[in-house]
């Protein structure tokens, strides 16, 4: 039993350790960070060991399969890099840093649960576990008045969206006469579902999910939250927290699509609107974190488009792009955090002359931005190609054409940052940008991974194919 739940147990143990550490008053934040780092590494190892587990636990409420286990591994790796690169938590007061790591693990636990949910109650609990932890993390920053404002806005919008989602769940419960996903699929198959309950319910639950992914029209919170939160928290939101939402949403979409044909069209249109909105508004941004927020909105749009290709290739495409998405966003925020050495919340102009100040960081930034834009030899290109081709196989040619246009447009504002970093002149009093050994080696490893997955995608792709994700997702 315990080895089936190894990743969750590991995250829970981390949470408990940090909880007891945070009770003591005279604890240095460096120790909390070291414990978090070690324990997130343990979680990575545990997720790796549990990779080939399967099972349906707790009266068919919690499903362990290759899909969930791989997502847990991705999330664990993301947590590890967040713990590694987030340090030092500059704009969070010292006495709260232990608590930051406490919420770090509780959010991590919630995200792992989200990858495996097979019951609406578990779905709601896991979502709220992530959400409450993240609300607290966003509100921790104290060096700027706007930060508490962004926390309260994020909380309110989030609470409303989860209340709407919960109401939707209650309608689905009435329609399916049960809380497990299995009961819903069974009821749909037998046609005993009351559509007047099911359709509003599904719409409400999906709008709550779209909020979590910051998809159009529920994206408004994202730029404010990224901007107002401390940069390590913004990194957390942009990397792992979004992936967990994708994991749970994709499972539900995959279960429901044979019975709700309109779902495909609706999600396709939302995907296009999301990426167009993210890309067009990103043009006008001056703050780096806001730009990255809009860019991550656009990226969620691409993943949503890949979801609606229900061809056999779709789960691999979503999984591949999720991995690449994590790597790219980690690099973006790694560079942003390095720039915060001199100034909190760097603007795009702060990237000027980065090449002269720190060539390695500038290079990894360029690799990751080109990959986000989908420039050919990099993994972002291959990932997008997989997403788009799985949508095209399903016959959504027009949506794919619009998505390709979008990714061409996005190249413009990504290039703007690259141009600043490589050809812009740093301030007169510029100095070499110091970076820690950790940041340098992480930047190197991540950008090499982004490049290698693009040049040689075959091994990872074959591995994903061998996991039989489509079968894992089927009811």
């Amino acid at each position: 039993m315990i080895d089936v739940l190894l990743p969750e147990v590991s995250a829970l143990t981390g949470l408990l350790i940090l909880f007891f550490l945070s009770l003591s008053d005279n604890l240095s934040d460096a120790l909390a960070r070291r414990v978090t780092l070690i324990w997130s590494l343990v979680t990575v190892v545990c997720s790796f060991i549990a990779l080939d587990q399967t099972g349906l636990l707790f009266s068919e409420s919690y499903r362990i399969d290759s899909y969930s286990q791989l997502f847990k591994l991705i999330i664990a790796v993301g947590l590890f890099f967040n713990a590694l690169l987030g340090w030092p938590l500059r704009s969070i007061p010292e006495e709260q840093r232990t608590e930051y790591y406490l919420f770090f693990f509780s959010a991590g636990l919630g995200m792992m649960l989200l990858a495996s949910v097979f019951n609406f109650l578990v779905l709601y609990l896991a979502m709220e576990l992530v959400a409450y932890s993240v609300y607290a993390m966003v509100g921790m920053r104290r060096d700027r008045t706007e930060s508490i404002e962004s926390a309260v806005k994020y909380f309110l919008v989030g609470a409303v969206s989860s209340a709407v989602g919960l109401y939707g769940l209650s309608l689905i419960y009435g329609a399916a006469q049960g809380l497990t996903f299995g009961a819903l699929v069974e009821a749909l198959r037998q046609g005993t579902v009351e559509p007047r309950l099911l359709i509003p319910g599904v719409v409400m639950v999906f709008s709550s999910f779209l909020f979590k992914l910051a998809a159009f029209p529920f994206h408004v919170w994202a730029p404010d939250a990224y901007d107002g939160a401390a940069s390590p928290v913004a990194m957390f939101l942009a990397s792992v927290s979004k992936l967990a939402g994708i994991a749970a949403l994709f499972r539900i979409v995959y279960l429901l699509h044979p019975f709700l044909p309109r779902l495909e069209t609706a999600l396709g249109v939302i995907a296009i609107l999301t990426m167009s909105y993210g890309n067009f508004v990103a043009f006008r941004q001056k703050s780096a974190k806001r730009l990255f927020a809009y860019s991550s909105i656009a990226q969620a749009g691409y993943i949503l488009l890949g979801m609606i290709g229900f061809a056999a290739s779709s789960p691999q495409a979503v999984m591949f792009y999720s991995i690449v998405y994590l790597l790219m966003n980690l690099v973006l925020f790694l560079v942003t955090l390095a720039l915060e050495e001199s100034r909190a919340d760097p603007e795009i102009s702060s990237f000027a002359g980065l090449y002269k100040r720190n060539a390695l960081l500038a290079f990894s930034l360029m690799v990751s931005l080109f990959s986000l834009a989908g420039v050919p030899p990099l993994s972002g290109f291959f990932g997008k190609w997989l997403l788009f081709s799985s949508a095209a196989e399903q016959g959504h040619i027009w949506l794919v054409v619009l998505a390709i246009l979008n990714s061409v447009i996005s190249l413009y504002y990504y290039l703007f940052v690259v141009k600043a970093a490589y050809f812009g002149d740093p301030d007169k009093k510029y100095s070499p940008l110091p970076s820690t050994f950790t940041a340098r080696s992480a930047a190197f490893v991540l950008s090499v991974a982004i490049a290698m997955l693009g040049l040689f995608p075959r091994p990872l792709f074959d591995f994903l194919t061998s996991l039989n994700l489509a079968q894992a997702l089927a009811p």
Binding site: F120, E149, A163, S170, Y173, Q177, L179, D224
Partner: protein, 103 residues
């Protein structure tokens, strides 16, 4: 659907609608929290009613409602903590005064 279930659903829809109305009309952070709680409890009523009328021999809906009540309490705690912090910085809990960031 029986008449009794219909009546409960009517109550819950009304509560949900009142919650949304409150979200649009209220300018006070605590008022907004109360509106969200109304929406959560509307969902709770739905769970109980469906459980009672459609599946009287199961307890799924009741368990769900207990969790909803617990989470609503946790949510209120966290939200009020943030409202305290807002008050300390802005000397007000009116949402119109707490509006500097631009999406």
């Amino acid at each position: 659907m029986t008449a009794g279930l219909m009546a409960y659903m009517l109550i819950s829809v009304t509560m949900f609608g009142l919650g949304i109305y409150g979200l649009m009309e209220r300018r006070n952070l605590v008022g907004l929290l109360i509106s969200v709680e109304l929406m959560l409890n509307a969902a709770g009523i739905n769970f109980m009613a469906f459980n009672y009328y459609l599946m009287p021999d199961k307890v799924d809906g009741q368990i769900m409602t207990i969790f909803v009540i617990g989470l609503a309490a946790a949510e209120a705690t966290l939200f009020l903590a943030i409202v305290f912090a807002v008050f300390r910085y802005y000397r007000s809990i009116n949402v119109e005064k707490v509006d500097h960031l631009r999406g």
